[in-house]
Symmetry: C2
């Protein structure tokens, strides 16, 4: 069986490396006579690379070669990845991708095309890097009604927050260190503004709850506004700040879905997930909480997830895996303002005692937080739980205070 890889970057070259390194084992597990990398699609050339001779610049080579049964897409970005993948599926070739943007935006359509042409479209590597999560959700947890899924899905932001929490670094210094270590790109916005985590939770929510979820429908906040003051107050409250992506089934058939910094209590399995590690918590009716932890990114972890999908494709050439979700619909994702939460609030005021009294009365009791060396005019508290809209309105009505920071509180 022949394989083509589209995009010879970090992940693509890792896939080529693993296909060679663990060749015999992969052939055996695939139940094939041979598993051979035949083409690498890339516009660049790679003089001296050991796979140099496999590199082609023209997609036609791949699509027109009937001996290529499995195509790996590790190009990233929406175009032309989308067009290429759709062409492959329409030609009956199975596709494995690590491209979260592609799956989050076009997953439903591509899964449909795969089904129509008896091909597989698999994307274990698109969420959680090497952590097995897509397959456990679809298979191992098949007997469960999944109620909720939440996770630390972006290693870059988790590294930055860890440096802020453990080393007392500012956001800016931690970001620079992440860039220096190769954990953050020169333009880090997709990570630090939460878009990467947003695409991943869109995929997980679609998988758990059965309908496509568009990233644009998910309220997304990054970590750029988090300060060391907030980190200190989180500790005073009894936890840490993490960038949490989460989605929950609601009573009315809709779902919630949000990405934002959140207070996570020390007792949580998510609180101890540090550095570039990821973790995903699945809450099911029968199973309770299950957590999957590991490296959410990196060349070989991600490539190993891609190769596992390749093996799965090879095993299911005749009988494709039935796997997918339905179309999304307008209003399927509830506004975050309608979801119940508690909020942490930090404010400055020249009359902070009066403001705290106001808050106590308006919210029906708040829990004041204290930190060492706070400026005299600073106050912080945690509200009781209520619909966020209601909390925001009450907050806006407080007089004599400037709201500096508002962070949600989770119960994971």
């Amino acid at each position: 069986m022949n394989i083509a890889v589209m995009g010879y970057g970090v992940v693509g070259s890792g896939v080529a490396e693993l296909l060679e390194k663990n060749h015999d084992q992969i052939v055996k597990k695939s139940q094939q006579d041979e598993m051979r990398l035949k083409y690498i699609l890339d516009r660049r050339t790679f003089p001296g690379d050991k796979n140099e001779s496999l590199v082609v610049a023209d997609f036609e080579k791949i699509i027109s070669d009937d001996s290529v049964k499995i195509v790996v897409e590790t190009m990233g970005g929406l175009h032309p990845a989308y067009e290429f993948v759709l062409d492959c599926l329409n030609a009956g070739k199975s596709v494995v991708t690590s491209n979260k943007e592609l799956v989050a935006e076009k997953g439903c359509e591509l899964l449909k095309a795969a089904k129509e042409h008896n091909a597989n479209f698999l994307f274990e590597a698109s969420v959680g890097g090497g952590i097995p999560i897509i397959r456990p959700i679809t298979q191992c947890l098949a007997a469960n009604d999944i109620d909720e899924i939440a996770g630390i899905l972006n290693g870059t932001t988790n590294f930055i927050l860890t440096m802020m929490i453990k080393q007392g670094m500012t956001f800016e210094d931690a970001l620079r260190l992440a860039q220096k270590n190769g954990y953050a790109e020169r333009d880090p916005s997709a990570d630090i503004q939460g878009h990467d985590a947003c695409r991943k939770i869109a995929i997980l929510a679609a998988l758990c709850f059965g309908k496509h979820v568009y990233p644009a429908d998910i309220h997304t906040e990054g970590i750029t506004e988090i300060t060391l003051a907030d980190v200190d107050y989180a500790a005073a409250w009894g936890g840490v700040i993490k960038l949490i992506a989460r989605s929950k089934k609601l009573e009315n058939g809709k779902i919630s879905a949000i990405v934002s910094p959140a207070f996570v209590g020390y007792g949580s399995q998510l609180a101890g997930v540090d550095d570039v590690f990821n973790a995903i918590l699945v809450r099911g009716d029968a199973i309770g909480d299950v957590v999957f932890y590991g490296r959410g990114a990196g060349k070989l972890p991600t490539a190993s997830a891609v190769v596992a999908d390749i093996i799965d494709c090879a095993q299911h050439m005749k009988e494709r895996k039935d796997f997918g979700w339905g179309e999304g619909e307008e209003g399927y994702v509830s506004s975050y303002l309608d979801i119940e939460t508690s909020l942490y609030v930090r404010l400055t005021s020249d009359s902070k005692e009066e403001v705290l009294e106001q808050a106590n009365s308006v919210f029906g009791g708040v829990k004041a937080l204290h930190r060492d060396n706070a400026p005299d005019n600073e106050a912080a508290f945690v509200t009781p739980a209520a619909a966020e809209k209601e909390l925001r309105e009450k907050l806006a009505a407080l007089t004599g205070a400037k709201i500096e920071s508002v962070i949600r509180i989770t119960d994971y």
Copy 2:
């Protein structure tokens, strides 16, 4: 498609409950027209139970009914579970089991029988209760060479150790509380002496490394000798005591496999696994460390793993899953004495300063540990890493000291 359940105890009744509760979803995911529970095998009668009419006492009913394609074994114990399961597989029926003893002792043979008769033999529920671990190892991590696996595989002992660590309870009191809470059986020996964890690591090692591992070949120590003094010294060292089951691929083609209490550093993902929870760490060449966490026991978590296997069987009726391991062999599991480790040692001596000096000289430097309120004649230290045999010999040669406790140290 018809299903039979053998053994209507905690797990068996949970399976029946889930098959009814999530019926529509299970039928859909199984890609079948119907998934019906037809028989429950049990010697007891269940007057008033809603499945009373399905209960049969005679195994012949099941084996002779060709409409029964999947048989669930939740009887526990080796006999007659083994004979019944073998008969089912030989008759071409797929079998799903939660019985770790059966898989650990007879897995290789039963997998072979399944293969010969084009049936499936699945046992996700035998390790880690509801935590998906068997399938991720075989599928999601297929692209990895797995180097090592380790875990907290027994909820009862983990609960007892958690109570000792967090509440300062003695072993005896913690065991009584576990029994009161229903976490420990009246005869708790299989749990507290490590046999339950031993069976589970035997299964995981077979799966990871490809050859059957017999529980009898795994050196197994329980937690009955652990004292609060040891708990205190673990804290002084910077960690906690956990009952760790672990297995590792060695350079010479053999493996190590052991179950014993061990010091686990606070930084480890296993250190925060408390109460009845389980966690399993898999270390692969490409993936690094991946950890799976959740409830390792309990009616519905375990039943949900069984039902996931039932669905998997139903999906793979025509093309069975190729899945298994080879025969074990004499000497395949190395003696624990040949494995390199560090040891924590607690001793009493009337001349403890001299003993510590001896130890320092014999081991080439030890790290002394201190705890509050230690008796005057007590000393504790951690040795450098070396083959355990060598460490034990040196320990035996110390003069003027009584060794009270020896616990291994892990680097997970």
